[in-house]
């Protein structure tokens, strides 16, 4: 109980300041609250707002309303997010966008990478399908596994999406890649935490990435195409034609190209990623 409180208090402080600003009438003295040891539950409030998980909507009300306004805390820093202005996200829906890869067979495995997805889970699943594990349903009984997989992710999950694709390329080998970028429209519904009556709908555009990995050849003319195991070559060709200043390119085998060899040994971020055996 108390330990929990102690730990979080710093964070709460932070929360207060943020929360105070837009609702001057509703100032909340969270530290006092905490000293009383009343709610370790506030921890979850903080998280709730920050990460906007839709959980526990009621908590915010409970916590903030019974508290009396107190003399203001130090000057509030500019509020950062909607989430800290007394609103919380109720739901988030991604608008359906057409598949970025027209002409793709319908049965292709699509991995939707989210911010909280664990790479090992994603990869465990995807690798099993690609390598044609028995017992996994799917078109292929031939044992070869699926031919193609698409990784998509948006916003903060973009990095993870790329990492997944990179890991898979490394493990499966000779995969053709096609990468597409675009904006994705996300609709968010925010609800005021005081009354619970007011609602706001926000349309946001977040960058998203889709990476198609295929065992079969893809159209090399398509922008965003990357042939198998050519990490450096792709830059050389695009580059030669492109720039008048082909500058120094003495590092033929160097930076981006040097790693394929050592790859297996040092799976930096790939560390966590073993497919389950």
């Amino acid at each position: 109980m108390f330990r929990g409180c102690g730990v979080v208090s710093g964070q709460n402080q932070y929360l207060i300041r943020e929360a105070v600003r837009p609702h001057p009438g509703l100032e909340v003295n969270r530290p006092i609250h905490m000293e009383n040891g009343v709610t370790p539950g506030t921890c979850s409030v903080y998280q709730d707002q920050t990460y906007s998980n839709a959980g526990q909507p009621a908590v915010v009300n409970n916590v903030s309303s019974p508290l009396k306004p107190t003399p203001p805390l130090p000057a509030p820093p500019p509020a950062l997010k909607l989430g800290q202005e007394g609103f919380k996200k109720v739901c988030r829906t991604e608008e359906d966008s057409p598949c970025p890869f027209p002409g793709l067979a319908s049965g292709v495995l699509e991995m939707r990478v989210k911010e909280g997805s664990k790479i090992r889970n994603l990869m465990g699943f995807a690798m099993a399908r690609m390598q044609g594990e028995k017992g996994v349903s799917g078109g292929d009984v031939s044992g070869g596994g699926l031919r193609q997989v698409v990784f998509t992710g948006s916003g903060r999950a973009v990095t993870k999406t790329i990492t997944c694709a990179e890991i898979m390329k490394r493990k499966v080998g000779s995969l053709h890649q096609l990468t597409k970028l675009r904006y994705k429209v996300v609709k968010e519904v925010w609800e005021s935490s005081e009354g619970g009556t007011s609602e706001m709908t926000v349309h946001r555009t977040v960058p998203s990435i889709s990476i198609l990995l295929s065992k079969d050849p893809l159209d090399p003319q398509e922008p965003g195409y990357q042939p198998p195991e050519t990490l450096s070559a792709l830059w050389e060709e695009g580059v030669e034609s492109a720039s008048q200043a082909a500058c120094k390119r003495p590092l033929g085998p160097l930076p981006y190209s040097s790693f394929p060899h050592c790859k297996r040994v040092c799976l930096g971020e790939g560390v966590s990623v073993h497919p389950p055996h």
Binding site: V158, T179, S241, F259, K263, L267, S272
Partner: protein, 152 residues
């Protein structure tokens, strides 16, 4: 730049490689180490290469790209982003594309970049060996170009 997410995983790993910040308790506890991250190696810098980082103001970086494409007379530029900066690189590329009213096209490629960390023993008396450790991070390279066939 780095991936703060993975440190907890160290117990499952395959090799001596870990991600940043939390020294994996497993291998090296007796001596404390300071972790220094070396700068990533860079590709050669042509005039139309833009390496995006998280320190420079976003608008400044966007403006720089715009200038290259419009004023600089480049038919294409390459926007590179590593780790956390991937998002920003994508954002810049998409913004460029949007503001060009469809004149610009994007071609993205991804890669893995090997990064080196130095581990320096904190207490010289305890005679810990300085070590290095490598890890990988993802990167993106986006070619932003005018698609007409008349190449230079």
């Amino acid at each position: 730049m780095t991936e703060p997410r993975s440190p907890g995983m160290s117990s499952i790993q395959t090799g001596p490689v870990h991600t940043d910040s939390t020294p994996p308790a497993v291998e090296m506890d007796p001596v404390e180490y300071t972790l220094r991250k070396r700068l990533p190696r860079k590709l050669p810098k042509r005039r139309n290469d833009v390496y995006v980082n998280m320190k420079t103001d976003f608008r400044a970086q966007l403006a720089r790209c715009q200038k290259l494409l419009e004023g600089g007379g480049h038919r294409e530029i390459c926007v590179h982003g590593l780790g956390l900066a991937i998002n920003r690189a994508i954002n810049i590329a998409l913004q460029l594309q949007a503001s060009s009213q469809g004149a610009l096209q994007l071609a993205a490629n991804t890669s893995t970049v090997e990064l080196v960390d130095d581990l320096e023993p904190e207490d010289p008396d305890e005679a810990g060996e300085p070590m290095t450790r490598t890890r990988n991070n993802s990167a993106i390279h986006i070619k932003v170009f005018y698609p007409d066939p008349q190449g230079p």
